[in-house]
């Protein structure tokens, strides 16, 4: 391919880029570096430390990784453990598993049933946060909730889900909330497979499960990696569980994003809050680098 002459000169191109880059630089790039500095101070919202925050070195990080209280409820280790369970349960197993199952079940099928399931999943995904939070608080209510009504009709006992099983509740909620993304991603990945792949497998006598395992999964491998990295990133950072359990009762569903919020915006200890934010961003950075390297590999393979 010959290199075509660019339509815009470099100067005009940079001029056009300027407004967007200004906003990104000021409200995205600069804060991410500033937070590093804040995490080394004792900055608060009010009082002496708000006006003249002092440099405290790594004290905030040492407090965060204080292994004496590490796993005690309300401390960082507990939040980290909850986040790991939350991500594994709701993203890696829940969203990706359900999304893949739906995409595979409706593979090369059309019709009303598909439209219905896809529309419902997408609705669950796009309705505003606070509205889905109210829906789920109602759904999981001990006395009036729909889930308990169904369970008791089936002869099972009522459970006060948000009190007795808070972490499980937000895991199931987040599966419901985000499965649409994986479903749509895997559907479009499956749609690009040539039908001859499966026909050849059927002729060779492969069972559907074998065809799925040996043909489908390997051919959408890169999509699966992309999906897993992105939903891990989003699930790790989501704040919506706060609207359902507020991290409680007694911090039993406090994930890292809620912990950060509590330290920074309930206790207004910005120095410590910034230290948690830095740890969160380092975890995000690791995930994003995995994502970028898969993008790179795909671009090279193409």
């Amino acid at each position: 391919m010959t290199q075509r002459r660019p339509i815009l000169s470099m100067q005009v191109g940079l001029l056009f880029l300027l407004p967007a880059m200004f906003f990104v630089a000021v409200f995205l790039v600069f804060p991410s570096f500033w937070v590093l500095w804040i995490s080394l101070t004792n900055q608060t919202l009010t009082g002496e430390a708000a006006l003249r925050p002092q440099f405290v070195g790594l004290a905030n990080f040492r407090a965060l990784f204080d292994f004496e209280n590490w796993m005690v409820r309300g401390y960082f280790g507990n939040a980290l453990r909850n986040s790991v369970l939350f991500v594994i349960g709701s993203a890696l197993i829940g969203q990706a598993g359900l999304g893949l199952a739906i995409a595979w079940a409706f593979y090369r099928r059309r019709g009303l049933l598909r439209e219905l399931v896809y529309t419902l999943a997408i609705l669950a995904w796009i309705i505003p946060d606070v509205v889905v939070a109210f829906m789920w608080v109602a759904y999981l209510d001990r006395d009036q909730g729909t889930l308990n009504a169904i369970l008791s009709a089936l002869g099972m006992g009522r459970v006060d889900w948000l009190i007795e099983r808070p972490l499980l509740s937000i895991i199931v909620f987040n599966t419901w909330r985000g499965a649409a993304f994986s479903m749509l991603l895997f559907s479009s990945a499956l749609a690009t497979l040539p039908p001859s792949y499966l026909e050849a497998a059927a002729v060779a006598g492969a069972r559907p499960w074998q065809a799925f395992r040996d043909i489908i999964l390997p051919s959408i491998r890169s999509h699966i990696i992309t999906d897993l990295v992105l939903i891990t990133l989003w699930t790790f950072n989501t704040f919506t569980p706060y609207l359902i359990t507020a991290g409680g009762p007694t911090f039993r569903s406090e994930v890292v994003s809620i912990y950060t919020f509590r330290i920074a915006f309930r206790h207004f200890e910005f120095g410590r809050g910034a230290a948690v934010a830095v740890v969160m961003m380092l975890i995000n950075l690791a995930l994003a680098l995995v994502y970028l390297s898969t993008l790179r590999r795909e671009a090279r393979a193409r």
């Binding site: 660019p6 339509i7 815009l8 470099m10 191109g13 940079l14 001029l15 056009f16 880029l17 967007a20 880059m21 906003f23 990104v24 000021v26 409200f27 995205l28 804060p31 991410s32 500033w34 937070v35 804040i38 219905l116 399931v117 419902l120 999943a121 997408i122 609705l123 669950a124 796009i126 505003p128 606070v130 889905v132 109210f134 109602a138 759904y139 209510d141 009036q144 729909t146 889930l147 649409a180 749509l184 991603l185 559907p208 992309t226 950072n237 989501t238 919506t240 609207l243 950060t260 919020f261 910005f270 809050g273 910034a274 948690v276 934010a277 969160m280 961003m281 995000n284 950075l285 994003a288």
Partner: protein, 275 residues
């Protein structure tokens, strides 16, 4: 054997579809029924008696209506800022020789995925505080703009790449300035892409809770996502009749936009468009 297996797989498929459909639909039923129920309830039951009085009460509540307008202002303001600046940037990335192009694009993806959610709120709040932007719409709109721009630029760049260059080349021959070319040639052609990005940005801000919750102070400036928590009795329990009616009103624009996008363009899939 083959017939049996086919029947079994048909049954299995129907069962799976029914279970998945129920899993997604059941939590939503409350929002469809409770707003029309004269008695506040968390249960899914037919409204007894059926009423529209909840909506009348919400419409008569000036604070709640003001909050919907506030959401409109925040979402509309962000939509305009993001769409216009992202269009220019996407056009430049596609049509000019931008130095350090790879570094720039990878850097954008990296920062937009790393600086996100609650972790980003600490520095953004302190920045807004330092710039005097706490409790202003400008602060909220700019905080959203910074977070949404990278994704918006990448979606729009794909749309620009799909445009034939011949129109722009003709415009250039006719002596159009770069800005005239963008305004009169590129933007009209790019309308579908700008619509997609605009609607996406609007829905993001309309549904968001955390950023306005952290950055705004004055109750009268709060958007609907926060005002919905004002329908509480003095004892601190939600007034479910009003909360559910308001929740439905607040969700309607998103549902409307979804139907519009679906009918007009088909719900096309852009990696991660929702977030």
């Amino acid at each position: 054997m083959k017939v049996v297996r086919r029947v079994l797989s048909r049954i299995g498929f129907s069962l799976f579809a029914a279970l998945v459909g129920a899993f997604f639909a059941l939590p939503m039923l409350w929002l469809l029924l409770a707003p029309f129920n004269a008695r506040g309830t968390l249960a899914v039951e037919l409204p007894r008696p059926f009423t529209l009085a909840n909506f009348e009460a919400v419409f008569a509540n000036a604070f709640a209506m003001r909050a919907l307008l506030n959401s409109m202002l925040l979402a509309g303001g962000t939509m305009l800022t993001v769409t216009l600046t992202a269009t220019l940037a996407a056009y430049a990335l596609s049509r000019a020789e931008v130095p350090y192009y790879d570094l720039l694009t990878y850097g954008l993806i990296l920062f937009s995925s790393v600086v996100t959610g609650t972790a980003a709120m600490v520095p953004i709040f302190l920045l807004a505080n330092a710039l005097g932007l706490v409790d202003t719409y400008t602060g909220v709109i700019l905080a959203f703009t910074g977070g949404l721009l990278p994704t918006a630029i990448f979606i729009l760049r794909d749309f620009v790449e799909g445009l034939p260059r011949s129109y722009e080349e003709s415009a250039m021959v006719c002596g159009a300035t770069p800005w005239q070319m963008v305004r009169d040639v590129v933007m009209p052609l790019l309308r579908p892409g700008m619509m997609v990005v605009g609607i996406w940005a609007f829905v993001q801000v309309w549904g968001a809770f955390l950023i306005p919750f952290v950055l705004l102070r004055t109750p009268e400036r709060m958007p609907a996502a926060i005002a919905i928590y004002s329908f509480y009795t003095e004892a601190g329990t939600p007034i479910l009749t009003l909360t559910s009616a308001y929740a439905l009103l607040y969700a309607l624009p998103v549902l409307g936009l979804y139907l519009f996008v679906n009918a007009r363009y088909g719900f096309r899939f852009f990696g991660g468009i929702k977030r």
